[in-house]
């Protein structure tokens, strides 16, 4: 299993300042997890320049009629697993 330095969990719409602060904090070896209203970033052009792996909670995406890519969608068990694996978790 690849090393995961920091898991960044963000739950806000991409038009909020906190979401942008989160993107600015991403580094190689990190991962980004979109939850709640942050899954809206899956549509439109909100993740330009993001080079780390991006995950999204399928329950949140489905409720908002969005479909994460095949590698992107995870369930709550996946969220737990990522959180346990990561050396550090930042809840934005």
């Amino acid at each position: 299993m690849a090393t995961l330095n920091t898991l960044h969990i963000v739950n806000r719409t991409p038009d909020q300042a906190r979401f942008q602060h989160c993107l600015a904090a991403l580094a190689d070896g990190d991962a980004l997890l979109l939850t709640e209203n942050a899954v809206l970033a899956l549509a439109g052009n909100h993740l330009a320049g993001v080079t780390v792996p991006v995950y999204a909670l399928v329950a949140d995406a489905a409720a908002r009629s969005l479909e994460p890519g095949a590698e992107q969608g995870i369930d709550y068990a996946g969220m737990v697993s990522l959180s346990a694996r990561a050396k550090r978790v930042i809840s934005w």
Partner: protein
């Protein structure tokens, strides 16, 4: 306080982690309590452990005993209380946040001569020292904030 791991829990692929969940978003204003509950259930199911749930800021409203949501909406305070009891997990509401926002137990009712109390069991009032304790422990502290 330790959580009891149900016998059917799978052994996690990596070493078990003790999570403290800090909830700062209120039910019926934010999705924080429901995301946190789904995460907590998945944590226990995977054989990890919830060390403590700490309500801070607007999150203290999750400990209200007086919420009466419509019958076709989930009762998040009741669901959380049931989960904590069933798994023997400590639930703390930050006392400073709670007093400002009108969430009090019978001791605080007496201290401030208030006309009632509304803290739902098994939640207890305590200070930020509980959060510091989690922060200094071996586990991970995750936050579930409101959406704005």
């Amino acid at each position: 306080m330790t959580s009891s791991i149900p016998p059917q829990a799978e052994t996690p692929a990596i070493a078990p982690t003790a999570f403290t969940l800090v909830i700062t978003g209120a039910p019926y204003s934010s999705q924080a309590p429901q995301t946190a509950l789904s995460f907590a259930r998945a944590t226990v199911a995977a054989g990890h452990r919830i060390h403590r749930v700490f309500l801070y800021g607007d999150g203290v409203h999750l400990a209200s005993a007086l919420a009466a949501p419509p019958s076709d909406e989930p009762d998040w305070p009741a669901e959380w209380a049931d989960f904590l009891k069933a798994n023997g997990i400590q639930g703390i509401a930050c006392i400073a946040s709670a007093l400002r926002r009108g969430v009090v137990d019978s001791a605080e009712q007496a201290r401030y001569a208030l006309p009632g109390h509304n803290l739902r069991a098994p939640f207890e009032l305590a200070g930020l020292g509980e959060w510091v304790d989690s922060r200094l422990g071996d586990g991970k502290v995750l936050y579930f904030h409101g959406g704005r």
